[in-house]
């Protein structure tokens, strides 16, 4: 894992002290809320429905055991004993006191963490693949790139006041586990004739105008990636629609200009910039790389897993993924228990996962955009012990990518922008479909729920998506089908008129019944939907 150098540490420490001073001035009445709000937002501190909310950045979703332990301690000491892992692989605390915020940031800084750039119109936390560095099919490990981009984008003066927020994702596998093409810029690292470079996608996003990012460049050599990105952002920064908040994301610019014209302008800017020699020194990438070297895997380990315990075997089949190293495995930890709150974890659970990472996974864990956790380097021989501990803590649900592995934003239970509650719907669905055999039979089925059109819950990318709307002061839910955030990325289509909360659960059941009746050999829900189209599903729902 990356470790801060003295420069990283000193800018984070300085930021904590600056914010401490700003907070004191606010509490003493020397700053008005209008003056203070942009300052607290730059440090991830929002005012939400019930209290202040702090969003902590988890760079490319990677945490050390020590960092995770600290997150749990903060939840216990300053919050109400839990935290919420988000689709941006960050952690949100819901019950923060303003007066405590500087102390919390100071505690985070002791473990090389912060909340900088988790809000505002800047480059946000870089996201990546939760299997980075451990999956067999990647062209290279994307994390050194994600870290380089983290450094490049942190306090980047030119990109601190963009037209709108900006989200970048870096992956390096064919399989897209990070919804890369639904980011403002997505990079897919590939190897061509032995050289590493990036496919560049620009103009994806969710929100009220969802778009799958088109490819704008098929190969940027690795030592030019940062300056190419710089050119992409420059064009956006100059021409992005600052006149209208709803049209200010890069997706609208790319759409309005057309992909070809946006590309042309980027190339023109890039040709100009190339002469300036702005690429970061390759020494920096060389400095970063060793931090992500393989841990000291043991050689010659057995690949067999003792599956005598049937409950354990079920969990292994669902939650454990192949690791590049013989004898090792990747463990997915579900944060979606039956009837639970997607992404929430108690301080004790956070502490337990930290301990497991320390004991069994070379001190490392990951957060996924589907609001789950991952232990990336586990010896197969240790799986049973890990499973037993997870089970005791209510963390051994076996539902990865199944219908109850639901993404849900905080919705109207916590979020001041919400129109409807997302979490109770997720809970009802997970209860309706709780039967393990039924879930398994339904197979991969990604349900995603947002409480308003901002789409934090990725509903546009759900095989089944639900959007909460406000119909004359009453919660109402729109259903959409056929979206995907994976390598077959697509935006879902709305089925028709909306439903009550119970109505949408029933409608989803009808949709799944039709799938079961109509599927052909080997088809996932999404495949059947794509083959049949909306019509039969619509008939089944509204018929």
């Amino acid at each position: 894992m990356y470790r801060y150098d003295s420069y990283d540490q000193s800018i984070v420490d300085a930021r904590v002290e600056e914010f401490r001073d700003q907070t004191q001035r606010r509490l003493a009445g020397q700053l008005t809320e209008d003056q203070f709000k942009p300052l607290r937002l730059m440090n991830g501190l929002y005012l939400q429905l019930h209290a202040y909310m702090l969003r902590v950045a988890i760079p490319y979703g990677t945490l050390s055991a020590k960092q995770m332990r600290k997150l749990g301690e903060i939840a216990a000491k300053y919050d109400k004993g839990y935290g919420h892992f988000t689709t941006r692989t960050n952690l949100q605390y819901n019950w923060i006191k303003l007066a405590d915020a500087p102390d919390i940031l100071a505690e985070l800084a002791t473990v090389e963490m912060h909340a900088i750039q988790t809000s505002g119109n800047c480059i946000r936390n870089i996201s990546s693949d939760q299997y980075a560095g451990v999956s067999a099919d990647e062209a290279t490990d994307p994390r050194p790139w994600a870290e380089l981009l983290r450094q490049w984008s942190t306090f980047h003066p030119e990109f601190t006041y963009l037209p709108r927020k900006f989200k970048i994702c870096v992956i390096a596998s064919k399989e897209d586990r990070a919804a890369m093409r639904l980011h403002d810029i997505g990079l897919k690292l590939v190897s061509r004739d032995g050289q590493i470079g990036a496919e560049v996608y620009a103009g994806g996003g969710m929100g009220r105008t969802p778009m799958v990012a088109p490819q704008i460049k098929d190969f940027v050599p690795e030592d030019e990636i940062v300056s190419y990105l710089e050119a992409c952002l420059r064009v956006y920064n100059r021409y992005g629609r600052r006149d209208n908040k709803y049209k200010a994301r890069i997706k609208i610019l790319v759409h309005e200009l057309g992909v070809e014209e946006y590309k042309r302008q980027v190339e023109e800017e890039y040709a100009h910039m190339k002469q300036l020699g702005l690429n970061p020194p390759t020494e920096e990438l060389d400095r970063i790389r060793p931090f992500f070297a393989n841990p000291a895997y043991e050689q010659g380990l057995a690949d067999e897993i003792d599956r005598a315990d049937p409950a354990f075997a079920l969990w292994v089949d669902r939650q454990v993924a192949a690791h590049k190293q013989p004898g090792y495995a990747i463990v997915n930890i579900s944060l979606k228990p039956k009837g639970g709150i997607p992404g929430d974890a108690s301080a004790e659970q956070i502490g337990l996962v930290a301990d497991l990472a320390e004991t069994y996974s070379f001190d490392e864990l990951r957060v996924t955009h589907a609001q789950n956790l991952v232990l990336p380097h586990v010896k197969k021989a240790d799986l049973y012990a890990i499973w037993q501990k997870l089970d005791e803590a209510g963390l051994a649900e076996a539902n990865l990518d199944l219908i109850t592995d639901i993404i849900a934003c905080p919705g109207l239970d916590y979020c001041s922008l919400a129109n409807a509650r997302s979490i109770p719907l997720a809970q009802k669905l997970s209860e309706r479909f709780a039967d393990a055999g039924r879930q398994k039979d339904l197979g991969e089925l990604k349900v995603k729920i947002s409480g308003c059109i901002n789409a934090c819950g990725h509903h546009h990318a759900g095989h089944i998506g639900v959007l909460g709307v406000d119909r004359k002061g009453v919660e109402n839910f729109q259903l959409s089908l056929g979206g995907s955030g994976a390598e077959d990325a697509a935006v879902g289509q709305i089925t028709g008129p909306g439903f009550s909360e119970d109505g949408v659960v029933d409608a989803i059941e009808k949709v799944t019944d039709l799938y079961l009746a109509e599927r052909e050999e080997g088809e996932r829900f999404l495949d059947t939907y794509r083959r049949l189209g909306m019509k039969p599903f619509k008939e089944a729902i509204y018929g």
């Binding site: 606010r26 509490l27 009445g29 809320e33 005012l47 429905l49 019930h50 209290a51 202040y52 109400k80 819901n94 019950w95 923060i96 006191k97 303003l98 007066a99 709150i341 109207l412 239970d413 916590y414 001041s416 919400a418 509650r421 979490i423 109770p424 809970q427 002061g473 009453v474 919660e475």
Partner: protein
């Protein structure tokens, strides 16, 4: 009736104007008539509240009920964590349907 709500500047707690100060209990809200906005600005300036705003509400046998679901959820706490709402300490708090 019109009632005034906001968050405590320092703790962030949801608070309601109770006539002579702020309360955590929506049931103690008083009708602020057309004085809400002036009161809000004065209380903000006095550093007792942040983000104060006036809402419609009604009073019935269940207590004071904010007109909008968002404020009803603010008044009690997250519907998905009953343990963290006002209810455990005050069984009669907001006895209305969300």
């Amino acid at each position: 009736m019109k009632i005034l709500t906001g968050n405590d500047l320092s703790t962030g707690d949801v608070i309601w104007w109770a006539g002579d100060g702020w309360s955590r209990q929506v049931g103690e809200s008083v009708d602020v008539g057309d004085k809400g906005n002036d009161l809000a600005r004065a209380e903000e300036a006095a550093l007792r509240v942040v983000g104060a705003y006036v809402i419609d509400a009604s009073r019935d046998e269940g207590g004071v009920r904010p007109a909008h679901i968002k404020d009803r959820i603010r008044a009690l706490g997250p519907t998905v964590r009953p343990d963290l709402t006002l209810k455990p300490n005050d069984a009669d708090a907001g006895n209305w349907v969300i």
